[in-house]
Each structure stands twice: as structure tokens, then as C-alpha cells.
Symmetry: C2
Subunit: 140 residues, 2 copies
Amino acid sequence: MLRRMNEDPVVQKWRDVLAKHAAASCVLERELSERHRLGMSEFEVLERMVEGGREKYRVQEVADAVHLSQSACSRLIARLEKAGLVCRNMCEADRRGVFVRITDEGRTRHREAVPTHRAVLRQVFAAEPAKPAELRPAEV
Amino acid sequence: MLRRMNEDPVVQKWRDVLAKHAAASCVLERELSERHRLGMSEFEVLERMVEGGREKYRVQEVADAVHLSQSACSRLIARLEKAGLVCRNMCEADRRGVFVRITDEGRTRHREAVPTHRAVLRQVFAAEPAKPAELRPAEV
DNA sequence: TTGCATTAGATGCGTCTGCATGTATGGTTG
DNA sequence: CAACCATACATGCAGACGCATCTAATGCAA
């Protein structure tokens, strides 16, 4: 399929992004889920909170960091809270707002999942020296 | 949020992919949908069929090209067929198989949508000389 | 030919997503 | 202060996805 590559360099960049995104997110989703009971976005949220160094984050702030809509992030945080990986507290200064903070269990689960996460990324971003045009992941 | 960047170069690449994917797909989805009644994946399928130069494609072949599962692609093609943009015929040589071919209306819709598609991509892949770390698409 | 594993594609089901909207609080203006 | 608009998050809803499974057609072997 698709012998002729699209010649537009912007399109080539975009297809490269699509290919890498598909390859990585597919494997990440499966591996994180099976090995650590975490979705890809859930891992990403935990990681951002760990890296941020602060203890409290606003929902919208998290949403921006992981490229999710506010509504999707609200639900995602609800799932994480139900799993005991984060907790939500009302923001006293602005009672509309909510503070999200990662729990110890959340930090633990994140720490455990990091090796899996990095291994998948190394694999995806390693293979492919020239330009694969059409992804050929076949059996991974 | 997230002052400290993750130092791992593979993670940085991955986050760049995530940011570009989110920025582009979000805008593409909206613009293609509003202006041309096409989803991003639907456009992608039409484009691959046009570029491929052949007239007939197998479902799995299309799925691989656009990084969709076989089931998702089956439904996507069903949507396109209902919209009159492709048609399906049984493969006589192997009656399990199906041939998908783009219709004239499909070619027209694709051709009309190309400028929108390219404009969005140019915008997303243009902005950002150094490295934005956090995406800042804001109002597009 | 019969029997069984394989393959192509369709479909049931549960999950996640974005958009639109709802609810509550905050801030501003007259 | 009262009315009104803006902001922060939650939620109803419909759409699209992947996984597992189903159906039908193949093909290979006994």
C-alpha cells in the first residue's frame, strides 16, 4: 500500500508523529495496564505531579500538562482518586477550585511503572535510523 | 506547572510527539469536521487511497496505513461507505475478503479538504523554533 | 471427503474522550 | 448590596476506539 510518499515535508513530519504516537501509545497502554494497572494518561498525570515538585495542583493545570480536555481530566483524576493514587481537597482560597495531590501509594505505583514506561519508549524511538515512510511494526 | 523538565532524551522526544499530536489532531478534528464533514482518520483513509494509486484496497491494508485496529477500520469504512465516499465489494478470489475503493465523491471531498489539512499542519509544525516543552496552542 | 486450524472482516461490549451544559463560587459594576 | 458575567470543576451524552468474539470462507491433512 502507498508506494508513493507524499512529498510535502510537513505531511511527512505529521505522519512520523502519527506513526510514533500510535506505536508507543498502543504498547504503553497495554504494558502499563497489564503490569501496573495504569492507563497511559494516568501514568502521565502521576509523572507530572512527581516531577513538578509541588504537592498541590489544580485540575486545569494537570489537564494542560497532559493534553487532555478539562472534562476528561476531571474524570481521570476521579479514577485516580478512587484507586487511592491521588486525593482531592477543596481549595479554601477559592472554593470553586480543587487541589489534587499525589498520595504515597501514587508515588509508589509511578516509581514501579517507570522502568516499563522507559523501556517501551526506548524501543519505539530506537528502531528506525533512516525513515520508515510506512510503519512496519508487524510483530513487536 | 512542571518547571523541571524530565532529563531523559527519550522522554523528551516522546513528550514532543505527544504535544504535536495533541495540538494537530485537536485542530484537525475540528476543522475537517466543521468545514468538510470529515473526521481526521476519515481524511487520512481517503488520502492514502488517493496516493496509493491503486483502485482496490483490503481493509487490513488500510488499517495498517492509518494505524487503526482492524475493528475500528471496519467501522470507519462503513461510515465512509454510508457517506458515499468509498464502496465495498466482495473479493471474488477470496470471498472472505473485501475490496474498498474510493468513489468520485470521495476523491472530491478529499481534494476539497486538502488545503484545510495542510494549513493546520503548517501552523502546528511551523510555530516553535527552539523547544516549547509545554504546548501553547491557545487560540487557533 | 471430513475435520480442524487459520484468516478476513463484522460486531458486542466496555472504556475513554470531547463538547455542551450544569452548579457553585468569585469578581465587578452601578 | 444587587445583578451580572466569568471561572473552576462536574456531569450528561454521543462518538470512536480496542479487545474479545463471532461468522464465513480457506486450506491443509488424514
